[in-house]
Amino acid sequence: MAKKMSQSNTSSEPLKTADGVSLKVSLNRALRRRKITALLLVTPLFLFILLTFLGPIFDMLLRSVDNKIIVQVLPKTVSQLAVWDASTGELPDEAVFKAFVEDAKIAAENKTISRVGKRLNYEKSGMSSLFRKTGRKLKKFDPDKLEISYTDLVLGYDKKWAKHETWWLIQRESGKYTSSYYYAAVDAQIGVDGVQRKPDDQRIYMKLLKRTMWLSSLITLLTIVLGYPIAYLLATLKTRTSNLLMILVLLPFWTSLLVRTSAWIALLQREGVVNDFLVTLGFIGDDGRLAMIHNQVGTVVAMTHILLPFMILPLFSVMKTISPTYVRAARSMGATSFTAFRRVYFPNTVAGIGAGGILVFILAIGYYITPALVGGTSGTLLSNFIAYHISTSLNWGLAAALGTILLMVVLVLYILYDKIVGIDNMKLG
């Protein structure tokens, strides 16, 4: 041991620890151990988030392209249709009809045929009833007593079976995955002759996305306009006073979302406080009460109020770091107070505006509760339609596609936020 020690000290051999391991190796090993400990500490939460959160998000992405139902319920039809050339404009041949009758009879007995109808109904209305009707008839059908061709049998059930488009639609949607929900989500449809935009009166989602973007931008702008003076005041006042005034910002921040929304309903409704006040003061007549709720005004006012603290807090923390000597220096060199503000103070706060702005925009774009309660029909956002398709229309594929589009928009903004502020620097309260 002593020999080793002396050797390592005198010769050019690498330094060694008491156990005779090279110091470099030993340090590396210690570092690796620390790395593993650090990773082990994070692993439980990581797995938890993976299972309870990222899994569901991934499931939603899958569901937006999932199309297994047709190939599952009508397997023979799908494989027969694969060789049918739809571009000829003619109906498929007898083999397809035979396969369809066999598939559909089984499906009618397990009651899965209505699910195919429901799926295809998202693409073309009338499909649901067509499949239900056909299923009912096929249940009673006995293949041994068939005297006509399968084609004539099916064509006899409903005129729609004689339409080229019906078969073309089944062929188109026979893959395991589909992009049709995304086409629907951007108001397009796939016709026999390619992708087209839907007629004007059926274009809902692009309009809705545009409205969501526009209202979110407006709300973000309003929070900047209202939040900037408050953040400035709080950042320049004496700590004692500003701490006291900060309560006025933090109390709404901590108050339940539903409490604040119900407060705005109380204030803004037709028989509400604001209207009563204006009538009492004589600004408006009793019959001229303003409609400030269940429309866009309601959504914008209530959401601006709810999101304002999210703007004030980051702005405040940025402004707090700006030394008052900057403005004083500018003033001492002859700048007017406005110039000093515009050329010196304001440029320093731009990062805070960016951080708060993106935060508010991200929150606004996915808002559901407040628009659902005070938005009426003109003030609803994309989220409300996602909820509608999940719980009312049950078109889960479309809900998932709309959700995915919204998620992509948010992700882009999130990356932008990370570039400006850094996720690690996110602070609360």
Binding site: R34, K35, A38, V42, P44, L45, F46, F48, I49, T52, F53, L54, G55, P56, I57, D59, M60, L226, P229, I230, L233, L245, L248, V249, L250, L251, P252, W254, S256, L257, L258, V259, R260, S262, A263, I265, A266, E271, G272, H305, P309, S337, I362, L363, G366, Y367, Y368, I369, A372, L373, S383, I386, I390, W396, G403, L407, V410, D418, L428, G429
Partner: protein, 283 residues
């Protein structure tokens, strides 16, 4: 912010205009919250001030909406559900979040930004998307419409708040303290419990409070992942506002405001204590 003695008239006018603007904005922030208090005592079942109320006539006021809240079995069950779900999801998210924060704040941690980004994502992804995804996924697992499903969902949503708060506490953590303990012969476990834990406790508690309020306040996810048996207070308020508006909602709102004032005070006290302790440890 005080006006200097040499201020010009224009500057004076602007100064007072600015203050007036600020007062108006503060009013916008706080009046909707304050207005709920008197309205929750309205003797009439309206969401507005009656002439009797404005005349401060005692006949215009009543506490019956509070009575309704405390006697209604629907509301009481909602309270129990809210508290149970919030407590369990707080326990899960605080435990996992604190561990993760301890790992994340080590210098040696690899791929820190990417992993932090994933861990924080439940906070950033719009609730409706989380709710949609969880609804689909939890239905497959049979967790939709169960307390466990809602608790897991809320724990996932709340954990970023714990991670952020505890990480923030650890930023100011003086590592020479643990080294000192180690050099004096303390084992890593002993160091952790005697040195690290007391120092990060305020951060962990405020993280837990954040987690609690996140779950307590959450409504979108519970609407989709839960069923009637998991009906929480915000859910009951949501359907109450949609179906039949009664001042009971305002009474509940008042109780919730008082509750959030208590929580806010607790967090503020913890923050101050944390700052004091850091001041001590740095000295």
């Amino acid at each position: 912010m005080a006006l200097p003695l040499h201020a010009t008239t224009g500057e004076r006018i602007w100064h007072y205009t600015f203050l007036l603007i600020c007062v108006l904005i503060f009013g916008f922030l706080i009046i909707p919250i304050l207005i709920i208090f008197p309205l929750s005592f309205n003797a009439q079942p309206y969401f507005t001030f009656t002439p009797e109320m404005l005349a401060l006539d005692p006949a215009g006021y009543t506490t019956k909406w509070y009575g309704e809240f405390f006697s209604s079995s629907t509301w009481q069950r909602a309270v129990r559900n809210s508290i149970t779900i919030a407590i369990f999801s707080t326990l899960i998210s605080t435990f996992l979040g604190t561990l993760a924060a301890l790992g994340l704040s080590r210098k040696e941690f690899p791929y820190k930004t990417a992993i932090m980004g994933l861990l924080i994502s439940p906070m950033v992804v719009p609730l409706i998307i989380s709710a949609a995804g969880m609804f689909f996924f939890y239905s497959r697992l049979g967790l939709q419409g169960t307390h466990i499903g809602v608790i897991l969902a809320h724990a996932a949503l709340a954990s970023p708040f714990v991670v952020i708060t505890v990480t923030a506490t650890l930023v100011g953590f003086d590592h020479s303290l643990t080294m000192a303990a180690a050099s004096l012969g303390s084992s890593p476990t002993r160091t952790f419990f005697r040195i690290t834990v007391p120092l990060i406790t305020p951060g962990v508690i405020s993280g837990a409070l954040f987690a609690f309020i996140t779950s307590f306040d959450e409504v979108v996810v519970v609407l989709f992942v839960g069923s009637v048996n998991q009906r929480t207070i915000p859910w009951a308020m949501f359907s109450g506002i949609r179906e039949q508006i009664s001042p009971t909602i305002l009474a509940v709102a008042t109780i919730l405001i008082i509750f959030s004032i208590i929580l806010l005070t607790m967090i503020e006290m913890l923050r101050r204590r944390n700052e004091r302790m850091r001041g001590l440890s740095a000295a």
